[in-house]
């Protein structure tokens, strides 16, 4: 019956060979899907002899979101080098989580075994939600996520902080900024209704805009599977007399939106949020269309004051740093200041760090790459939103 024993050669497929074959093919599929689930940054900025403060970083280093995780881990590594002093050295170690909650918890535990004293990560929101709950359990671990933007990440957890705006804050900030800069425009809000990031910002934006008496004449939505053409929505917006689009969407649909508006000859201003950072790198996109586009993003690599960081980052990793790297860098900066504030040294117990750092975090002020950062007792960051405008293919402060 079995053709796997090798004794009989029978070309007829039987049940076992089919099952074994499918399992084998599937295993290949798993490998292709995960393609190297794990990477250990293994970044040791100082000698690993217990004299250094150990910072763990978690992010997707492989898979579809790998660029974010790599940026975060690189940012942490670079910051550990830069903020090490003779008194307090930092070492970092990066673990891959493939943007998956279960893997992220494994990575967290693995880092805890390594002796991690504070965590900068995870990178993605889903993974951060899973890890934050574990970090907040006994024994607690201090955690600051550079880029997970859901308010649920920090809610009801004492030792979990965010280095980026959460979605509602970003929406409210955008409304405030627009009210300052363009009080007389007629707005259309354009968002992805199937996406938490996009709809989260939209909800807060609309609420704040009402308060500030911004003139919103229209709202248009789309979903991931209909993000190929926005001509219909734009026509409606034009008919409603909108003169400025507020689009809290990611850069890929944003590039389509700009191209569509241009084809229609619809001359309209547009502002996006940090998800639009990266629009100049979209393949096949005519970057001249993005001229004059306003972006609310925490970090610009073109700015003078960030030049040292950009140069150092380019030197080390051959890439221009993005906001993820900058947020991660600032997160490590915050940890180093908070440690000094709390009077903790390199030999501090992780539970001790988790107990004392939250209070210290609310007292410090970080003059970072992404602005001047302070934290409230909920773990949310408070910093000035920065608006950039794209001029000659570069981000210029608006």
């Amino acid at each position: 019956m079995s053709c796997l024993t090798g004794k009989s050669f029978n070309p007829v497929m039987n049940r076992r060979s089919v099952i074994a074959g499918v399992a084998g093919l599937g295993a290949v599929g798993i490998l292709a899907g995960c393609s190297g689930n794990e990477s250990e940054g293994g970044s040791t900025a100082a000698a690993d002899d217990g004299s250094a403060f150990k910072i763990g970083a978690i992010g997707p280093l492989t898979g579809s979101a790998a660029s974010y995780g790599t940026s975060v881990c690189n940012g942490v590594e670079l910051a550990c080098k830069d903020f090490s002093t003779d008194d307090l050295k930092f070492v970092s170690k990066s673990e891959d989580d493939v943007a998956d909650g279960e893997k992220s918890v494994n990575a967290f535990n693995s880092l805890a075994d390594w002796g991690m004293q504070a965590l900068v990560g995870p990178t993605t929101t889903g993974a951060s939600l899973a890890v934050a709950e574990v970090a907040n359990q006994d024994p607690q671990m201090f955690m600051i996520t550079p880029s997970a933007s859901s308010p649920d990440v920090t809610a009801d957890k004492t030792c979990v902080f965010q280095a980026c705006f959460n979605d509602p804050n970003q929406g409210a900030n955008a409304a405030t900024k627009l009210a300052e800069m363009f009080p007389d425009e007629k707005f259309v809000v354009f968002y992805n209704s199937g996406d938490t990031y996009s709809s989260g910002i939209r909800d807060a934006f609309v609420a704040k805009a009402e308060e500030l008496k911004l003139n919103i004449v229209d709202e248009e939505t789309f979903k991931d599977d209909s993000a190929t053409s926005f001509t219909n929505q734009l026509t409606k917006a034009k008919d409603a007399g909108a003169t400025m689009i507020f689009a809290p969407i990611y850069y890929t649909p944003a590039s389509v939106l700009l191209a569509n508006a241009n084809e229609m000859g619809y001359d309209v201003k547009m502002m996006g949020c940090d998800g639009m950072d990266g629009i100049l790198g979209v393949e096949g996109f005519d970057t001249s269309l993005a001229e004059g586009l306003y972006l609310m993003t925490p970090f610009s690599a073109d700015e003078e004051k960030n030049a040292d960081f950009v140069a150092a980052y380019k030197d080390a990793y051959d890439e221009v740093p993005d906001q993820f790297a900058a947020d991660a860098y600032d997160a490590v900066h915050a940890v180093s200041l908070a440690l000094a504030e709390a009077g903790l040294g390199a030999d501090a117990d992780p539970a001790d760090v988790a107990a004392k750092l939250p209070e210290a975090m609310t007292k410090i002020t970080v003059e970072g790459l992404t602005g001047t950062l302070t934290w409230n007792d909920k773990g949310e960051v408070e910093k000035d939103p920065m608006v950039y405008v794209i001029k000659d293919g570069k981000y210029v402060a608006a």
Partner: protein, 360 residues
């Protein structure tokens, strides 16, 4: 007193139980002594869930001989119904253990229902067709869960089915004290982590007792007969659909319970977790452990869950090493000269291949 142990199959079953109990005692002892690294300690509950998944899929693939590629779908049904049950009862039943038991039962029941409904059309097929259709059902379940928005407040459970993609948690109309449990594409978040290793161990034992006793029963022999020769089984009056259905539904129920255990051990769980890769991963456990061999499934599930994490020091090459290990094990366990060697060293010990045929 131990006369029943003279039966070879019974002895083998009790050896399996004994091994699981022993493993649990050793692990919990080591855990209390703090001798297990945190990386493994954190994986103990998921490992229990994967073991139950492997056992349940082995019932369908190994014992009933139907290739199912959508088993993660049942796990997903169990996980989300279990999470909803546990979270919505958090006010009424403060005791975590009781809540977890209810969650497991609800998860198993929902998955069994799903298994029954899917089984009606699916079990008319066999072979490759069955594999394709189960694969499709797994994907359908994933998409359906992605559309779900569920919340609970003092007035009861609120469920929305987000077909247009325009609905959000706000549309549930929850009161001030309400909690959103499943948030559509974002999945379930904020779940209380109430699963424990002991619950996992009990579930593994329950699954083992159910499956092994089912296989040894009259029903089990009928299932085996359908697997080995469908026409012959039909000719002696065995209803093939009925017995395949029994195996399929029992398997789905166990997968649902495993899902509920798994879901309640993480505070965040997105529907995409239970994708095709997850189904295949469990199928790999089953094939590697040996079709029809429950003990093998348990060992394979444990090793293959820990292995990728234990290989972290290989960094980017980790999955490559994982693949090589898989291939070596597959070749190794099927190598005749290696088997002969083992047979010579331990003369009376049956090789695993013979054990499978003995099971069959």
């Amino acid at each position: 007193m131990f006369k029943f142990l003279q039966n070879k199959k019974t002895r083998s079953d009790f050896l399996t139980y004994a091994l699981v109990i022993l493993a649990f005692i050793v692990v919990s002892f080591l855990k209390d002594a703090g001798m297990i690294p945190r990386m493994i300690a954190g994986q103990l509950v998921p490992i229990c869930a994967y073991i139950v998944m492997a056992i349940s899929l082995n019932l369908v693939v190994g014992v009933a001989g139907d290739l199912s590629l959508g088993h993660a779908g049942f796990m997903s049904v169990g996980a989300y119904s279990g999470i909803v049950a546990a979270m919505s009862l958090s006010e009424a039943i403060p005791n975590d253990t009781v809540r977890l038991v209810i969650a497991l039962i609800v998860g198993a029941a929902c998955a069994a229902l799903a298994g029954f409904l899917i089984g009606i059309p699916v079990l008319r097929l066999s072979g490759d067709y069955l594999a394709i259709v189960t694969l499709a059902f797994g994907e359908i379940i994933k998409e359906v869960v992605t559309c779900l928005i569920v919340g609970v407040d003092e007035r009861g459970l609120h469920v929305l089915f987000n077909l247009t993609g325009k609905l959000t948690v706000d549309n549930l109309g929850l009161s001030e004290t309400g909690v959103a449990i499943i948030k559509g594409a974002q999945g379930a978040s904020g779940t209380d982590m109430i699963s424990t290793l002991f619950a996992g161990f009990v579930l593994v034992m329950v699954a083992l007792v159910i499956v092994l006793n089912l296989v040894r029963s009259r029903t089990g022999r009928a299932i085996l007969a359908v697997r080995d020769n469908r026409i012959a089984a039909e000719s002696v009056g065995i209803s093939t659909t009925k017995y395949r259905m029994i195996a399929f539904v029992v398997s789905a129920a166990l997968a649902g319970a495993a899902g509920a255990l798994f879901g309640n051990s993480f505070s965040q769980l997105s529907a995409t977790k239970f994708d095709f890769n997850m189904s295949i991963l469990i199928l790999v456990f089953v094939v590697l452990g040996g079709l029809g061999n429950m003990r093998g499934s348990i060992i394979a599930a444990t090793i293959l869950t820990i292995l990728p994490e234990a290989l972290r020091q290989f960094s980017d090459y980790r999955m490559l090493v994982y693949a090589i290990v898989l291939i070596l094990v597959m070749i190794g366990t099927n190598n005749d000269s290696l088997k002969n060697l083992v047979a010579r060293v331990i003369p009376k010990r049956k090789t695993s291949e013979e054990e499978v045929s003995a099971d069959a």
